[in-house]
């Protein structure tokens, strides 16, 4: 059987489908920001940006950019009616204090029990930079990861134990990938769904770890 991996937009759509009405959500830098384009019509979701915004709206029209109104990736955004500004300690208090419902992050590796590695490849000589990654990873009620399941060389990014430097321990609840959606727990991985044409057995052999049905 053959299968087609989810495209980046299809993956974003898959994540967006699981976001509920009224959720306070932080979308990490990079691929997770695509989720905003696919939120189900007709529901209200409030986006948080670490630099002190709730109710963040889409990018402004060309010429309307205001560089006092940017997102965590430093790109200009807009504010929805009902949105609010607050300072950095409050913003990270919202995360750390468990007030955000969902945080969607990219990752280099996730372990079966939900350890996350997404801030550093540990490459010698690289300049380390963490930003809000560690705060986000452990703060939200649910942390979801969105990534390709395999590296460019075909190795699974879902692993028994992360080899890259950790961002947080046991913090990832779900992994949305181009091939399958998985749940992490202290007991290991569980399958939520997989793309058409890919068998459970083949997925397990790609990941190299047991995945409960």
């Amino acid at each position: 059987m053959s299968y087609t991996p989810r495209s980046k937009d299809q993956l974003a759509q898959r994540v967006a489908r699981d976001i509920h009405e009224g959720a306070y959500v932080n979308l990490g830098i990079g691929q997770p920001t695509l989720v905003a384009n696919h939120l189900p019509a007709g529901i209200e979701v409030i986006l948080h940006s670490e630099n002190g915004i709730l109710g963040m709206g889409p990018a402004p029209a060309e010429g309307q950019e205001d560089y006092d109104l940017i997102n965590a990736g430093k790109q200009p955004v807009t504010l929805l009616a009902g949105g609010a500004f607050f300072h950095h300690a409050d913003s990270f208090g919202m995360m750390r204090g468990g007030h955000l419902d969902i945080c969607v992050l990219g990752a280099f590796q996730v372990s079966a029990t939900g350890d996350l590695a997404n801030w550093s490849t540990g490459e010698p000589g690289a300049i380390p930079a963490v930003g809000g990654a560690m705060d986000l990873a452990i703060g939200a009620k649910q942390t979801w990861v969105m990534m390709d399941l395999l590296t460019k060389t075909g190795q699974s990014k879902v692993v028994a134990q992360c080899t890259y430097p950790l961002t947080g321990i046991g913090c990832v609840k779900r992994i949305y990938t181009d091939l399958a959606t998985l749940e992490c727990s202290p007991a290991g991985l569980r399958l939520i769904d997989l793309v058409d044409g890919l068998s459970h057995a083949e997925l397990q052999s790609r990941v190299g770890l047991p995945i409960a049905a």
Binding site: Y67, I70, K74, L79, H87, I127, A129, G131, D135
Partner: protein, 233 residues
């Protein structure tokens, strides 16, 4: 009569000593007090410890202060950016020290300093290399890392509007670290684009009460990205 409005940036920054810790507000293009950073370069203090979310972009502002060799150490969360070549060069050649801190711990460490907290346990970073060597504790089944406050000798922040008592309002996401840093330094200097009479700002809208502000300097609104606006409002 209280009048915190300084005649110039030079006057507001006078007396800064070598070795001082300087908290500098801003995140990305928003809220960076570039005029005050330029004032620091002119003022001449050396051996500074700078606390900012980043470690400078391009060749101006914080990057220029670094390039002038005034900074011994940077405490920040995200030094590496596409145009952070000044910091990158200094770091790689061992001419600058870096204390990397998760962004929320950075904000809270500054908040703790302003609020008189001796130290606090944060769950952020537990089990990672950024918590290495730090005291940890299990509280109600969760693991935490002991984090210490970051006190400033000087805080430099960018606000939008202020009065002679030092009350401040901010503009949009340019607020970021400003209100927190203002509380955590022995001396806080803010730039504002507009100075108003006492009572003209609705007391319900004042974000930083003047008790946290030492000096205010009025600067023109610059219609550049770094100034916070692409087009003047």
């Amino acid at each position: 009569m209280i009048n915190k409005i300084a005649p110039s940036i030079e006057a507001a920054l006078a007396g800064l000593q070598d070795g001082a810790t300087v908290l500098i507000g801003g995140f990305g293009t928003a809220g960076i007090p570039n005029e005050l950073i330029e004032g620091l370069i002119v003022q001449g203090a050396r051996d500074l410890v700078v606390v900012n979310n980043n470690a400078g972009n391009g060749d101006s502002g914080l990057a220029a202060l670094l390039k002038a060799g005034r900074v011994r150490k940077v405490i920040c969360s995200f030094p590496r950016q596409t145009d952070s070549h000044v910091f990158d060069g200094l770091y790689r050649s061992g001419r600058i020290e870096l204390e990397l801190t998760p962004q929320g711990n950075l904000a809270e460490r500054i908040r703790a300093a302003g609020a008189g907290i001796g130290a606090f346990f944060s769950p952020t970073g537990y089990g990672t290399e950024l918590a290495r060597g730090k005291e940890t504790r299990e509280i109600n089944g969760r693991m935490y890392v002991l984090e210490t406050p970051i006190h400033g000798d000087l805080a430099l922040i960018r606000a939008e509007r202020g009065d002679r008592w030092g009350n401040l309002m901010y503009r949009k996401a340019a607020r970021n670290f400003g209100p927190v840093m203002a509380t955590a330094a022995k001396k806080t200097v803010a730039t504002v684009h507009e100075v108003v009479e006492l009572g003209q700002m609705d007391p319900e809208h004042i974000v930083t009460p003047g008790i946290f502000v030492s000096h205010l300097v009025q600067i023109p609104r610059v219609a550049t990205q770094a100034g916070g606006l692409k087009k003047a409002a």
